[in-house]
């Protein structure tokens, strides 16, 4: 599942469309968005490094292929993501570079596939240094000293990307490690505008950011979710019973399950369909580990929540014949609903005992008319006098009964007759 997120980010959007965007949502009780970001970062970096050499190889070998294929693959390879711009707000650039090194990806100042925009070290310009604003010149890490200026931030990201891939059709990915910091310095409309502008830029191939949902109003979270095409959500094993008010308490309620939980991903497909997938995560020293949910039923439940039931696809052919001269128009309609039960469902249905059915097997059906019969008198005396039997009945949980004695014979027995029949209205 995490692989499908990665593939979507790696492949990017089609030409002329908005870049696919991912929001990684964490909470105070499951603060592992950084781990997910690092996972994606490492995979994207490997893919970019591998993709560069691969595309060069493709172009060489294509000389022997047909012109059409040549053209199509050339177009595809030119749309490949060739670089990554990482905007850091919550961790220093050295943290990420060290992390990549640990994963076997060495980044040097001469690397032409990654640029880091440092909004962490001095976001407000408090540190006395001669330079102001963004540091100039081509370098791996660029310092941004005014994070509240989002226009400058936008142009810095695009400039950093162009520095790597040039001005052509070649594209690059953008990652922001924490939108929370951005939202603390700027208003929601401005931040959302920045994200949309970056997504809609022709050279941005894909885009992801992380967000701690406990720190902002629900409106902010929802707005960012609408902007993104994918949402990855880290849910702890003990979710808040009464919403986000107890976000802090949840951290201390996690107990031994801290570091474990469910990883839900929601994809918004191009056709408008929404797909939800879930996995279990476990975070350890090496990072985040994802595994299928142990109970298969819960996966199905989560997956089916937003997908219409299509277990039985019934095709009904409606032939609407319209004669227009000599032309015959045939309409074929697909209907999604159940017309018949499966064998299992039928057996289950048979087992259900309906409340109004007579359930004493082998006994004649009698409608109670309010009077005691001789048989009633006999059966009634026995259970009341026998304490053991009564205890058995109570302990088995099947002894519920309504005891009713009619006060007098004046009361009419139940019947189908209308009791208001004699009223003179």
């Amino acid at each position: 599942m995490a692989d499908s997120i990665f593939r979507k980010l790696r492949d990017g959007g089609e030409e002329g469309e908005l870049a696919p965007a991912l929001t990684i949502e964490e909470t105070v009780a499951s603060p592992f968005a950084l781990d997910v970001s690092c996972y994606l970062l490492a995979n994207l970096s490997s893919s970019i490094l591998a993709g560069k050499s691969k595309s060069e190889y493709i172009l060489e070998t294509l000389k022997f292929n047909l012109f059409l294929l040549h053209y199509r693959v050339f177009m595809k390879s030119s749309l490949l993501c060739r670089g990554l711009v990482l905007v850091t707000f919550s961790r220093s650039p050295s943290f990420y570079l060290q992390f990549l090194k640990q994963k076997g990806i060495v980044v040097s100042s001469s690397s032409k596939w990654i640029r880091v925009l440092d909004c962490y070290t001095d976001p407000l310009g408090w540190i006395d240094q001669p330079s102001t604003g963004v540091t100039e010149g081509p370098s791996l890490v660029k310092l941004n000293k005014c994070v509240s200026d989002l226009k400058r931030l936008f142009s810095s990201v695009i400039d950093a990307g162009r520095e790597m891939v040039g001005d052509g059709k070649t594209r690059f990915s953008v990652a922001i490690d924490s939108v929370n910091e951005l939202l603390r310095h700027s208003s929601m409309p401005l931040v959302s505008g920045l994200l949309t502008d970056l997504r809609s830029h022709a050279q941005v191939s894909s885009f992801f950011w992380s967000l701690n949902t406990d720190l902002h109003q629900e409106k902010v979270t929802n707005a960012l979710e609408y902007i993104s095409t994918m949402k990855a959500n880290l849910e702890p094993f003990c979710p808040s019973p009464d919403g986000k008010r107890n976000a802090l308490e949840n951290l201390f309620l996690a107990h031994q399950d801290f570091g474990k939980g469910r990883f839900h991903v929601r994809f918004k497909l191009r056709k408008g369909r929404v797909r939800v997938m879930s996995e279990e995560y476990h975070v350890d020293q090496t990072g985040i580990n994802l595994s299928p949910i142990s109970s298969a039923e819960s996966v199905i439940a989560a997956t089916k929540s937003l997908i219409p039931k299509a277990s039985y696809l019934v095709l009904s052919y409606l032939f609407a014949v319209k004669l227009c001269g000599l032309r015959l128009v045939v309409l074929l309609v697909q209907v999604h609903f159940n017309l018949q039960l499966s064998e299992k469902e039928r057996v289950e249905k048979e087992k259900v005992v309906l409340p109004f059915e007579h359930q004493d097997h082998g006994k004649s059906t009698e409608i109670y008319d309010g009077r005691r019969t001789l048989a009633d008198g006999k059966t009634e005396a026995t259970p009341l006098s026998s304490g053991e039997l009564q205890a058995d009945v109570v302990s088995s949980g099947k002894g519920g009964e309504i005891i009713y004695f009619r006060d007098s014979d004046d009361e009419h027995p139940d019947s189908d007759e209308d009791p208001d029949d004699d009223l003179d209205i």
């Binding site: 781990d35 220093s92 992390f99 407000l124 408090w126 603390r184 996690a254 020293q285």
Partner: protein, 258 residues
């Protein structure tokens, strides 16, 4: 096991050298159960004679004499540590900021002072520097006049010191001040920044003579860029404590000696 290492030390990883290097620790307490004893114990650990670590202490709550008396009972002489340049005590009791941009410049100036001190103290090789703040809620009141953004900016800059100079940052905060707020963003931001959160609270079962409260230690850690560090990541430990005249006794629930 070293007898001087108690349950809290173990939870913080003090069985290994410099476990808090580059980490942020948040101590949360409430009126019923003060968490300042945790701060005192950590001060003593940092200023241990077996290490060369240094401490920058920002005191918003109490004067130097208070800490000196408390630490003396724990077997640590703060005046001597000051003389040895292992303790820099910044008395912030008189800090007052007016409204407007002065707040920003006030906390920015404070950060620059800390940064300068860190650079000065960092000349000694293999020295870990710890910055302690007692307490953050008073800083918020003193510096921001109900606007917590400047304090969060200050905290962010202090956090950069943990990356830049491998400093440790230890802060104390009073949780119940924000209990009436629906979404205490300031408190939540602090929790998000922290690698280790220590919560001191009264016993859930009510007052007791021999147990003075309980501590919950959440070691969130972060994905490590340095191999081998942070083996206690994602651990949550819970134990109780009893405050004595010359120290604190920690024990698991139901294991009190008295």
């Amino acid at each position: 096991m070293d007898r001087s290492v108690n349950l809290l030390d173990l939870a913080l990883g003090f069985d290994e050298p410099s476990p808090l290097r580059g980490k942020v620790v948040l101590i949360e307490d409430c009126v019923e159960t003060s968490g300042s004893f945790v701060l005192h114990q950590m001060m003593k650990r940092v200023l241990s004679p077996h290490s060369s670590d240094a401490l920058i202490f920002l005191a918003f709550a109490r004067p130097f004499s208070h800490y000196d008396r408390v630490l003396r009972k724990l077997g640590c002489n703060l005046a001597t540590q000051k003389t040895n340049n292992r303790l820099v005590f910044v008395d912030m009791l008189m800090m007052k900021c007016s409204d407007g941009d002065d707040n920003v410049s006030g906390v920015a100036k404070l950060f620059r002072e800390i940064q300068g001190t860190v650079r000065k103290l960092g000349n000694v090789t293999n020295r870990n520097i710890t910055v302690m703040v007692d307490d953050m809620s008073l800083l918020e009141i003193a510096a921001t006049n109900s606007n917590s953004d400047h304090v969060l900016d200050f905290l962010h800059y202090c956090h950069t010191l943990t990356c830049e100079s491998n400093c440790s940052l230890v802060t104390l905060n009073h949780e119940d001040i924000y209990s009436s707020m629906e979404r205490p963003a300031y408190l939540l931001q602090m929790v998000c920044l922290a690698d280790i959160v220590i919560k001191a609270e009264p016993l859930a079962s009510g007052l007791a003579n021999d147990v003075h409260g309980q501590l919950t230690v959440v070691n969130k850690g972060m994905i490590s860029s340095k191999s081998g560090k942070g083996s206690s990541r994602n651990k949550l430990q819970n134990f109780q404590f009893r405050i004595k005249e010359n120290g604190i006794e920690y024990f698991y629930p139901g294991c009190s000696r008295s």
